[in-house]
Amino acid sequence: MLFKMSTITITIIDRNQETHQVECPTDMGLNLMEVCKSYELPVEGTCGGMALCASCQVYVESSHELTERSDDEQAMLDEAWYVEDNSRLGCQIKLGLELDGLVVRLAPELVETNDW
């Protein structure tokens, strides 16, 4: 029972409009990017969670009150693509009990070549 109490369920809609309901522990300091990766959803998390790459951008589709964007997150979103008012960086969303039932949609992936 104790385990249940610290676990929340969130819904992640992937880029093929498929819906994934995933259970996340809230006592491990996980963020949304890490949860996506642990469920092998196609989120790169290139920078490792430092709000430096925007590869974990999501649109928040439920009405949960999230913590405000930090300056770093805001600055990254100011320079990212496909940004909407409800855009957030998954790596900056810490999963707590208050986010039970959260619904997010993955932002489009940048189709990039290996040109450099």
Binding site: T46, C47, G48, M50, L52, C53, D71, Q74, A75, D78, E79, W81, Y82, V83, L110, V111, E112, N114, D115, W116
Partner: protein
């Protein structure tokens, strides 16, 4: 031609520590990195951020870790080819390699170690239709020769240091007009640069378009206009000779992806049971660039991999020599 025992591609923390482990075995190293300074991401992206999981350091700033590593490898006098990307690898008879950079610098070594982290840092390109068609025909992500923009109408996008610094520089140095387009009203840049840009906007030297974004471009062979979408819903077309989207850097595996190495999800597959060798004998991969079952992308794991790899490199270079693990506490560090 630069000759060395071991050529290390990538001068991040793991590449630097590889020099140390090789040096203990009296192997000389040379490093290649696309960035202009050693240290990789630690130096380029987050020098002022603390790292807490380097053994023996309760807390260390990424930039300080790099400085300490450079000090640690000083006795082994590594060579550096900085600001150049390793592009081609040619295996020679006898199994050594010649690695050539994008600037044509050639390096010859019997062993190559890829410590390339996330890859090469390349400009982040906006996802706009026809972008590629105007690259070098009005669109540039890196300003190589600012004189090119003398007498020209220039539009710059971005909200970081390079967008602001180049806007100011080109306004001061002969551009006919400079417009800076940024998605928000705040800038992630040095406060002095932000203030200068605001002053220039008031003086009419720079046209500042905030809460705005360029989403369309047009031209006839060469770029001649960009379309600005304002947050308010308005759109305007700007006639321009150049558009410089300066949105920072993003890492890509880059040319090493074409070196015949086994790749899985943007990482090089290595044999972690033995020596972090790749599928090509004589080429190893250590640090974040490699992958194997249970891989952890941690600096400390890269250090470990470097130590193991160095023993294998020694055996490859000197198949007949015996090598015994010596402790630095007993032997000290014998400089070259």
């Amino acid at each position: 031609m630069i000759k060395t025992d071991v050529l290390i591609i990538g001068a991040g923390p793991v590449g630097l520590f590889t020099v140390f482990e090789l040096g203990l075995l009296k192997l000389r190293s040379h490093l290649i990195d696309t960035l202009p300074q050693p240290g990789g991401q630690c130096a380029e992206i987050y020098p002022k951020k603390p790292i807490y999981d380097i053994p023996g350091y309760p807390e260390v700033l990424a930039g300080d870790l790099v400085d300490n590593l450079l000090k640690q490898i000083e006795p082994f006098k590594p060579g550096f080819t900085l600001g150049e990307a390793a592009v081609d690898i040619d295996e020679q008879e006898g199994g050594s390699f010649i690695v050539t950079t994008n600037k044509g610098t050639k390096h010859h070594a019997p062993v190559v170690v890829i410590a390339g982290g996330l890859g090469v840092f390349v400009p982040r390109k906006p996802p706009i239709q026809d972008l590629a068609r105007f690259e070098d025909r009005g669109i540039a992500y890196i300003i190589k020769n600012p004189e090119e923009y003398r007498g020209k109408d220039v539009v710059i996008s971005g909200g970081g240091d390079s967008a602001l610094d180049w806007s100011i520089y080109l306004a001061d140095n002969g551009a006919k007009s400079v417009s800076l387009v940024h998605r928000s009203q705040s800038f992630r840049a040095h406060p002095d640069s932000v203030q200068t840009a605001i002053n220039y906007a008031e003086q009419g030297k720079i046209r500042l378009l905030t809460d705005a974004e360029i989403k369309r471009i047009a031209g006839n062979g060469v770029l001649n206009s960009v379309e600005v979408f304002h947050k308010s819903g308005e759109r305007e077309s700007l006639q321009t000779d150049a558009w410089l989207p300066l949105f920072g850097l993003t890492p890509k595996l880059g040319p090493i992806a074409n070196w015949g190495l086994e790749i899985d999800k943007n990482a090089i597959v290595v044999d972690n049971a033995t020596d972090y060798s790749t599928n090509r004998p004589g080429i190893y991969a250590v640090g974040d660039v490699n992958t194997y079952p249970g891989k952890l992308k941690l600096i400390l794991c890269g250090f470990h991999e470097a130590a193991i790899m160095a023993q294998s490199a020694f055996k490859r270079i000197y198949p007949d020599k015996k090598n015994v693990l010596k402790y630095t506490t007993v032997n000290g560090v014998n400089a070259f």
